[in-house]
């Protein structure tokens, strides 16, 4: 069942310039991106900085205004809903942020942080509210007695789990995880990733997982979309993308990922040289005259590549 359908969305930011500060051009942060999320799966959006992956995620929760295209959630068009009309859908679509330090208000107690969504949507008594908060705290592996603590008393990984608890309180169907582990150390990262997997099973969640670390994306995702300069250049199952990359950008990305075995070193340098050469030669066949990737074309049942 299709939970979320994103069709040809564009997010343009104006560039002002000239004498009168008029809009002279746009940054095409997201420039025609389409994909679908099936219920219960994890879809990964991977790309480098400036590829528009985070903007895409944030556009879905309306942190950015969509310039064109449609976003359909459970068959309802969300694209042009006002804040008020959007409110009921907020319960279903939640977000986990990248930076565990800035995503929690430093002046609020854990209780207030986790209860914020409950207070917006439900009327529950103070004791009831505290019980719910403690229950979620426990679920993410934190001491339920710590509800009166402030965020600075927790480590990065613990804070990220507070953020996760907050997004779970409304029992969402879809969670957009915007680089949820990129600010964390490896050992802590593993813990948060394991959590996200457990919670997915427990609450039947669907994830849109935005990230730049190809290892993490592979670990988490069923299907993956590779973004480059605001466009999807390739989409497929993780097998398709990692074992059989077809777009030159995807190939370059894969070649750049460090390999844990030192023996492969010489071979990898050779591969990177070869791919870089290929990239230069085939650039004009994979990108149009404006340097824009073509639309995705299916090459197998699951695998799509941006080809002319």
């Amino acid at each position: 069942m299709t939970l979320l359908k994103v069709e040809d969305i564009k997010v343009y930011f104006p560039i002002r310039g000239g004498l009168f500060h008029t809009v002279v051009d746009h940054v095409r942060a997201v420039d025609g991106v389409s994909f679908e999320l099936q219920k219960g799966e994890t879809y990964g959006l991977v790309g480098e900085s400036g590829s528009g992956k985070s903007t895409t995620g944030k556009a879905i929760v309306k942190l950015h205004q969509v310039t064109a295209g449609t976003i359909t959630f459970q068959g309802k068009d969300l694209t042009y809903l006002s804040r008020g009309e959007m409110k009921p859908f907020r319960k279903d679509i939640q977000m986990i942020f990248q930076d565990p330090y800035s995503s929690l208000n430093p002046k609020k107690r854990v209780l207030d942080i986790i209860a914020e969504p409950i207070r917006n949507f439900e009327r529950v008594s103070v004791t009831e509210e505290r019980k719910i908060v403690q229950q979620y705290l426990e679920r993410v592996g934190l001491n339920p007695d710590s509800i009166y603590k402030y965020p600075h008393e927790f480590s990065g990984g613990q804070r990220q789990r507070i953020g996760i608890a907050r997004s779970l309180t409304l029992k969402p169907k879809l969670i957009i995880a915007d680089e949820p582990v990129s600010a964390l150390d490896v050992s802590v990262q593993a813990q948060v990733l394991n959590f996200l997997q457990d919670l997915q099973k427990e609450f039947q969640l669907t994830y849109l997982f935005v990230g730049h670390d190809l290892g993490v994306i592979r670990h988490m995702c069923d299907r993956i979309g590779v973004m480059y300069r605001g466009r999807l250049v390739e989409e497929g199952t993780s097998q398709d993308i990692y074992k059989n990359p077809q777009h030159i950008y995807t190939k370059r990305l894969m070649a750049a990922v460090p390999d844990l075995s030192p023996d492969a070193r010489g071979q990898k340098i050779g591969l990177r040289k070869q791919v870089a050469e290929e990239y230069k030669q085939l650039y004009s066949t994979f990108f149009d005259e404006n340097g824009r990737a073509y639309d995705l074309k299916p090459i197998s049942a699951t695998h799509k590549v941006a080809l002319p």
Binding site: V61, K62, K91, F97, S102, R166
Partner: protein
């Protein structure tokens, strides 16, 4: 799996952390200068307000032609002015008036500055652009002259019109300061998080962002309070501050515009000057100490 998680639960005693206010208070207690200033200020204000309460204002304002420009004596602790009025009495009433009025101005400018700063910084874009152009314009006006002209052309000039005129020009600095802080705060993910959690804009502004800029507002409020005492008395000194029915510290100092008073009758203007200096210095010391305390807390 559970095993990994549970370890963090144990061995973490529930500690109640002191609130921000308590931390600042602890820092303040260590700072002897600030503490002394605070005690001094509170005692001056207590004395002045209670003395002014029991004092007969009309008695103080009554001209006594038999006691013109008398030097300090037992009867008149700080002598008398050109009208034979008791300087000490005027000092008490003047201090009370100066402080009260400055406080009102500071409060009004803080309210306006806070609201505009929050709105401009939070919404950004066109709103921010328009508000900032207005603020930039008001800041680049020759404020003193505009105030003096307004004071002269307003018919039926009262304390309230003075407070309003001052507010008109002095809300801008606060608005700009708060706006720049809010602008930085808005970029933080917790604001975006609140938006995705369905929290309305006004709640985000006043319940999420405001607590994070409140320490700056408090420090700025205190420093401005001192500044406004100076401004009010300077304008009154020039003769364009409070109406004559409401003497302030500036009124006493304004007698020094007469070179003879300045040179020979120090008791008329010096006590008021010292009073302003002492009040402004002690308010500033308290403010600076709070500023250091909040900075130190943020560094942690």
């Amino acid at each position: 799996m559970e095993l990994n998680v549970n370890t963090e639960k144990h061995g973490q005693p529930i500690q109640i952390t002191p609130s921000g206010r308590q931390l600042i208070w602890q820092q303040m207690k260590k700072d002897r200068l600030a503490m002394g200033s605070f005690i001094l200020l509170v005692s001056i204000l207590l004395f002045v307000y209670s003395a002014a309460f029991v004092m007969d204002a009309e008695e103080v304002a009554r001209i006594n032609l038999r006691a013109l420009h008398q030097p300090p004596s037992l009867e008149h602790w700080l002598g008398t002015d050109y009208g034979g009025r008791d300087v000490f009495g005027q000092l008490i009433i003047g201090t009370r008036n100066s402080f009260t009025i400055s406080f009102c101005i500071t409060l009004l400018t803080a309210l306006i500055g806070l609201t505009t700063g929050l709105v401009a910084g939070y919404f950004g874009g066109v709103t921010d652009h328009v508000v900032m152009r207005i603020i930039d314009f008001i800041i680049s006006l020759p404020t003193t002259m505009f105030i003096i002209v307004l004071v002269t052309i307003i018919p039926e000039f009262t304390i309230w019109s003075f407070i309003l005129v001052m507010t008109l020009f002095y809300w801008t600095g606060k608005a700009r300061l708060i706006r720049s802080k809010v602008l930085a705060e808005r970029e933080l993910d917790y604001v975006q998080a609140s938006q995705t959690l369905g929290t309305p804009h006004w709640k985000i502004m006043f319940f999420q962002i405001f607590p994070n800029v409140s320490s700056i507002i408090i420090v700025n409020f205190i420093l401005n309070l001192a500044g406004n005492i100076g401004l009010e008395s300077a304008l009154t000194y020039l003769g364009f501050g409070l109406p004559e029915s409401t003497p302030s510290l500036g009124t006493l100092i304004s007698y020094a515009r007469n070179p003879d008073v300045l040179e020979h009758k120090w008791w008329v203007w010096l006590p008021a000057s010292v009073m302003i200096l002492v009040m402004m210095l002690s308010i500033n010391f308290v403010g600076q100490a709070i500023k250091r305390a909040t900075d130190a807390r943020q560094r942690r």
